[in-house]
């Protein structure tokens, strides 16, 4: 019923969003027609969970995209165009995300959207974006089916021509983790727990498939809803299963209590998660017992990348109220890619902004062709809308903090 109440709130928020979107339609038309001298305003949307359990990650996405927009305006990246970031909170709810998507589509000033974070939210937003040819670049949703279609394991087909992402998928993240557990840690028996959501289930699936292929044993597989904090019966089962590691598919608000309770129950085995677990709050909640836990994050560690130096320096100089977190680099690059696509689309028409739908189609075409060196490395999209990068980093908690990455590399499969 909480979901339902959220949906009600979402519906209300959505209606308000639509109302403001309609309001701004006339406003932007006014700006466009009144070509007296003011710059054309092009809006870039940002959808992420800005409140709720994943807020820390969502705010990092928002401020990083904001940084890209601010820099583009300062440097006059597209002459005559002022970019404006329109951030919307999806509270990690698919239905609210869908309302937000509708609001973006309804505003003709929006040229592209960055986000969302959750794969389940991305799923619900795409049909809305796709109908309007509105580019969406996710910097955090890692479920493979978003780009490669529901049958991505056997027959890849592009699901949505308007959807792109500049982050490595779980098709790489899960197997990378399995490979590390089996070969580097030498652990051959693992228990998996997922949260029943698109991201968590997908991650565990790809992990388990690769782990079994390597000859490992999945001693126990359990699902615990995302709002669970009581894992006592799961832990009893893990204990008797003899597993030497728990692989968790989900996000840290539910992943951290799992680690805490595992250790409290006398099970001194590490928990490993995906990017959803890699957050300082995870350590704060799970306490000292979390030392030795692992989490994978798509991409190389930002701090160690020469290409990210500039981004990090600018981000810190801007004094945003929250750190860029793990999706900062990809969110910055995603916003940058849309800015470049807008530039390319405008160049095609001799610097003039084409009317309505034609403009969005041109931005979509330009996005497919975009190629630049971003904070996370080279950014270019393949025929499914994914970046070529297959780099993943394994992080470990040491002395009460996430380390700088115990191992970073590409997974070949």
């Amino acid at each position: 019923m909480f979901q339902r109440s959220l949906a009600v709130l979402g519906a209300v928020a959505g209606v308000c969003g639509l109302a403001t979107a309609c309001g701004s339609r006339s406003q932007s038309a006014h700006t466009a027609s009144g070509s007296g001298g003011g710059a054309t305003v092009v809006k870039i949307g940002l959808d992420a969970p800005l409140t709720g359990g994943l807020q820390a990650l969502g705010l990092g996405m928002q401020y990083s995209a904001q940084l890209a927009v601010d820099l583009a305006n300062k440097q006059q990246a597209v002459p005559g165009v002022t970019f404006q970031l329109v951030a919307k909170d999806d509270q990690a709810s698919a239905s609210i995300g869908e309302q937000n998507a509708a609001a973006y589509v309804a505003d003709p000033g929006v040229a592209g959207v960055v986000g969302p974070l959750n794969s389940a939210v991305a799923q619900s937003m795409q049909s809305v974006f796709n109908q309007a040819n509105l580019v969406d670049v996710s910097s955090a949703s890692t479920n493979p089916s978003l780009t490669q279609g529901p049958n991505w394991k056997t027959a890849k087909t592009r699901a949505y021509p308007s959807f792109f992402r500049d982050i490595t998928t779980d098709a790489v993240q899960g197997p990378f983790a399995a490979d590390y557990v089996f070969k580097t840690l030498g652990i051959h028996s693992v228990a998996t727990v997922d949260d029943g959501q698109t991201y968590g289930v997908g991650l565990v699936e790809t992990f388990s498939a690769e782990f079994k292929k390597l000859g490992g044993q999945i001693a126990l597989a359990q699902t615990a809803t995302a709002n669970t904090t009581d894992y006592s019966s799961v832990i009893s089962a893990v204990k008797s299963s003899g597993a030497k590691l728990v692989y968790y598919g989900g996000e840290y608000p539910a992943g951290a209590p799992l680690s805490k309770e595992l250790k409290a129950a006398g099970l001194n085995i590490p928990e490993m998660g995906g990017d959803g677990n890699q957050d300082p709050t995870y350590i704060k909640t799970a306490g000292p017992a979390s030392n030795g836990d692992f989490a994978t994050v798509p991409g190389a560690p930002l701090a160690a990348l020469p290409s990210a130096k500039d981004f990090i320096a600018q981000y810190q100089a801007a004094h945003f109220p929250a750190p860029y977190a793990i999706y900062g680099g990809t969110s910055y690059d995603a916003a940058e890619s849309i800015i470049l696509s807008v530039k390319a689309a405008l160049a095609q028409d001799g610097g003039k902004m084409p009317a309505g739908d034609a403009f969005r189609s041109q931005v979509e075409k330009a996005e497919q062709a975009v190629s630049f060196d971003g904070a996370t490395g080279p950014v270019a999209f393949d025929q499914y809308g994914d970046v070529g990068s297959k780099v993943i980093t394994m992080y470990k908690i040491e002395n009460g903090a996430w380390d700088q990455g115990v191992y970073s590399g590409a997974f070949a499969g």
């Binding site: 359990q222 019966s233 008797s240 805490k260 006398g266």
Partner: protein, 317 residues
């Protein structure tokens, strides 16, 4: 499946059930006095947790005390906040609707529940500027669990069970042995006649709200200690489960609420734990824990529509 594992599941179930029971008492007491299902009770529970955390985080020195010394202070903070919120809600939201149709206070309760969540999410602040939009860390016991022949009893588990036992004993004494307790029972059984005895029904309703809130605050403290975090939305699931426990035990019956809580906790842990233990049934384990809990509720209500302990004596009048 070894006996130790089974006993561990029973231990888990008892602790979880004790917590459900503490919250369930609030639903049942308010229902008993004014036939209102106070859907905001889960949020009263949540506020109890934040009240306790506030004492820990904001009062200088408390965080440096040993946890067992800080606990009474935190409990006091939690109880004060929860009781104030519950009594305030009764006075400002429910009392003006006392004579309105049944649906009006019910919808008010749901609205209040959403509002309280949002208030905490938007405005709660931790020292250093942290907010409560995401789950916030709650202090928890250090040290190892007690090992009873392989069955582990966490320190927080022990605290939960002792707190629940003390609260229930206190409540039983209050209801059965004190003048106010008897007056409250009388109001629940026959409000008009209770007035003829000189009992002020408004006061009894306030007492019901306050006692329920105090117990919910105790439950919130145990929840924080066990899981190491509290969140603005934790009242929803806990409230739903506790409400289920209250119905299971027979709504309106205080002992039934506690029994319902324990039965529900045991059912959840045993069903999910046993199913998760065997390879062939593992997929029906934790993922289905709520399903088994509600299957149990439906079965009990089919066999005993009044709940386990509901209405033991027929009203002849």
């Amino acid at each position: 499946m070894s006996v130790t594992v089974l006993l561990q599941l029973v231990e888990n179930g008892l602790v979880l059930g004790a917590m459900y029971g503490l919250i369930a008492v609030g639903y049942t007491m308010v229902y008993g006095t004014i036939q209102l299902i106070n859907f905001a009770h889960g949020e009263i529970f949540m506020l109890g947790g934040f009240g306790a955390l506030t004492v820990y985080a904001w009062i200088p020195g408390v965080a440096h005390l040993p946890l067992f010394a800080a606990l009474p202070l935190m409990l006091l903070g939690g109880v004060v906040v929860a009781v104030a919120a519950a009594v305030g809600a009764e006075r400002l939201a429910y009392r003006p609707l006392r004579t309105a149709p049944r649906l009006a206070p019910l919808i008010t309760a749901i609205g209040l529940s959403l509002a309280l969540q949002q208030v905490v999410s938007l405005w709660y602040r931790l020292p250093g500027g942290g907010n409560a939009k995401a789950p916030v860390a709650f202090p928890s016991f250090g040290g190892k669990a007690f090992d009873l022949g392989g069955v582990l009893v966490q320190r927080a588990d022990l605290f939960t069970v002792i707190a629940a036992a003390v609260c229930m004993a206190g409540l039983a004494w209050f209801v059965a042995r004190t003048r106010s307790g008897r007056a409250m029972q009388a109001t629940a059984q026959d409000p008009d006649t209770a007035r003829l005895m000189g009992i002020d029904p408004d006061r009894m309703i306030v007492v019901a709200f306050a006692v329920g809130a105090a117990l919910a605050a105790v439950a919130a403290l145990t929840q924080g200690l066990r899981y190491g975090q509290i969140s603005f939305d934790m009242g929803f699931v806990a409230g739903l489960k506790a409400f289920t426990a209250a119905v299971l035990g027979g709504i309106g019956n205080v002992r039934g609420a506690m029994l319902g809580g324990i039965v529900l906790g045991l059912a959840e842990e045993l069903s999910s734990g046993i199913l998760a233990h065997f390879r062939d049934t593992a997929q029906y384990g934790q993922a289905w824990a709520d399903v088994w809990a509600f299957v149990l509720l439906i079965l009990v209500l089919l066999l005993r529509p009044q709940g386990l302990l509901g209405e033991r004596v027929a009203d002849r009048a």
